[in-house]
């Protein structure tokens, strides 16, 4: 590989990692603060992508579609928290997994009824439909640069929000001592509902902005869910910082795994083995730090 290829792949890896962060951060927040394992989280990514596809079709404007989609996802999050998730806070993980698995099945059927089972594609918005020429025959798409920048801005806003706002204080307090937070007059139920809806919006938003660079297809939620769980486990359950570091690691390893060739005994073990590489990374990290990179020991 020459330097330009490595640069391009690194950019792709970082971009994939940042996108994973958006999905995984919601997952890790919901687990870390509310103690809920939400395996339906991937469905929101899938729903986001389908919403993007529909809205672009109906409205014909990527930006308006994005805005409406996020609002719809946020409201969906509020409703789901009210109908299902709030009953799971003091239940054990098995019950949480069963209920959220039920949600996966419901969303999958609904998706099939509403949108069908076809694979779709979403056009890159005209404003970002260009590329930057790197060498004579290599270029990097502007859309991917925009996508990475958006993810970085959201990540910074999240860190600032958690560290420096009153809501962030409430979130951290609730994570530390739920009873005491209530006893200080804070409606923790409302804070939880907001966080859940925020997590849903982030996942859906990721699905929407990734739609133009990947296709929109029925199984996309399951795929991203598994990788996001790998990210959350590597980073440490409940740690936003951990999710960021792990997402970038996973993004880079997965991307380079797919373009590397490595011959052992005359057999090329990459890219065939690339799919395994992130799980190998997870196993390796868990061997030395069972609580994940930034996880707290229990």
């Amino acid at each position: 590989m020459d330097a330009v290829t490595i640069f391009i792949q690194a950019m792709n890896g970082i971009q994939y990692g940042l996108l994973l962060f958006l999905v995984a951060s919601g997952l890790t927040l919901i687990f870390g603060i509310m103690g809920v394992i939400n395996i339906a989280h991937g469905s929101f990514y899938m729903i986001g992508a389908y919403l993007a596809w529909s809205f672009m079709g109906w409205i014909g404007n990527f930006w308006l579609g994005l805005f409406v989609g996020v609002v719809v996802a946020f409201v969906l999050g509020l409703v789901l928290e009210f109908l299902f998730i709030r009953f799971l806070y003091d239940k054990d993980h098995l019950q949480q997994v069963l209920v959220t698995y039920g949600l996966i099945l419901i969303f999958s059927e609904l998706r099939s009824v509403i949108w069908g089972d076809d694979v779709h594609s979403v056009a890159i918005p005209a404003l970002l439909d260009g590329s930057i020429q790197l060498t004579e025959n290599l270029a990097y798409p502007v859309y991917r640069i925009w996508l990475s920048s958006v993810c970085i801005v959201i990540a910074i806003l999240m860190f600032l929000g958690i560290q420096h706002t009153r809501l962030g204080m409430m979130i951290r307090a609730g994570e530390s001592d739920r009873e005491m937070t209530k006893a200080l007059g804070i409606n923790i139920g409302l804070v939880y509902r907001f966080i859940f809806a925020l997590g849903v919006s982030l996942a859906a938003f990721s699905g929407m902005i990734s739609a133009p660079i990947s296709s929109v297809f029925p199984g996309m939620g399951g795929q991203v869910l598994i990788v996001s769980f790998v990210v959350v486990v590597i980073g440490g359950l409940g740690s936003i910082k951990g999710a960021m570091v792990a997402a970038l690691l996973v993004g880079l390893i997965d991307t380079f795994g797919k373009v590397t060739t490595l011959h052992i005994f005359g057999v090329n073990i990459f890219p065939e083995m690339a799919g395994m590489s992130i799980f190998a990374l997870m196993a390796l990290i868990l061997m030395f730090r069972p609580q994940g990179i930034f996880g707290r020991e229990h």
Binding site: R166, M169, M170, R172, A173, E175, S176, D177, E179, M180, T181, K182, A183, L184, G185, I186, N187, I188
Partner: protein, 237 residues
């Protein structure tokens, strides 16, 4: 009794199969300091948690300022004017001292603002030096001061302290008793649980003794001190 801030009538509570509170009745008047006493496992903490809505009552009534407190969730009771300093202090370990205080600060009933951020820091000068420290970096005494300061910042009418000086060195414990004296003087009703019978009976207007989920004594402390046999049986002092 027109000046009853809180009235508890025939309160029962179960924890799984065990009947923890067996018909507790109690009145807390405005400005009164009540010592809640009893050996471990007699139901003091359960009673406190019931009053705060943290543990459900099976039957009976809790009236706080003419409202049915059983219908209110914990955060609404807190907003109505009940503050809580729990056993183990309940400090948010991942928040700084300043954030612990900021999170609690608000005006009390009818907009009262007797306790401000500055007044709390003046009352607890040790906290002033530790504002940016995380909750987990504090000593036990500092944590208790923070917990009390935080409770005061909600400008409550009723302050409930569970194990006020547990695990504190005698000098630090004395600091806490002095602060409770100031709180008492400021007119806030307090319900205090503590193992130190002497200090507790001295500071309180009234002693309430619990045995096996029931109140067996509810009178001024001198009446309790006059009964050494009962003291030994109920409290082991």
């Amino acid at each position: 009794m027109s000046n009853a801030l809180m009235t508890v009538k025939d309160l029962h509570s179960h924890y799984g199969m065990s009947h923890v509170l067996r018909g507790v009745s109690l009145e807390i008047n405005s400005g009164e300091t009540i010592a809640l006493m009893g050996r471990n496992g007699m139901g003091k903490t359960t009673l406190i948690k019931c009053l705060l809505g943290l543990v459900p009552a099976t039957s009976g009534d809790i009236i706080f300022r003419e409202q049915d407190a059983k219908l209110l969730s914990t955060h609404l009771l807190a907003k109505a004017g009940i503050a809580y300093v729990p056993e183990g202090r309940g400090i948010f370990k991942n928040l700084s001292v300043k954030e612990n205080l900021f999170l609690a600060a608000r005006s009390g009933f009818e907009g009262r603002m007797d306790w401000t951020y500055d007044r709390v820091l003046d009352s607890f000068p040790r906290l002033k030096e530790r504002l940016t420290h995380g909750g987990q970096q504090l000593s036990g005494g500092e944590q208790q001061m923070l917990s009390i300061g935080r409770a005061l910042l909600t400008n409550p009418d009723l302050l409930i302290l569970d194990e006020a000086t547990e695990g504190l060195a005698p000098l630090i414990a004395q600091d806490i008793w002095n602060i409770i004296d100031v709180i008492k003087a400021s007119g806030i009703s307090t319900l205090i649980v503590d193992k130190n019978f002497k200090s507790l009976s001295k500071i309180s207007n009234r002693c309430v003794v619990m045995v096996k989920g029931e109140i067996v004594f509810n009178d001024i402390s001198s009446q309790l001190i006059a009964r050494p046999e009962a003291l030994k049986n109920w409290l082991g002092v």
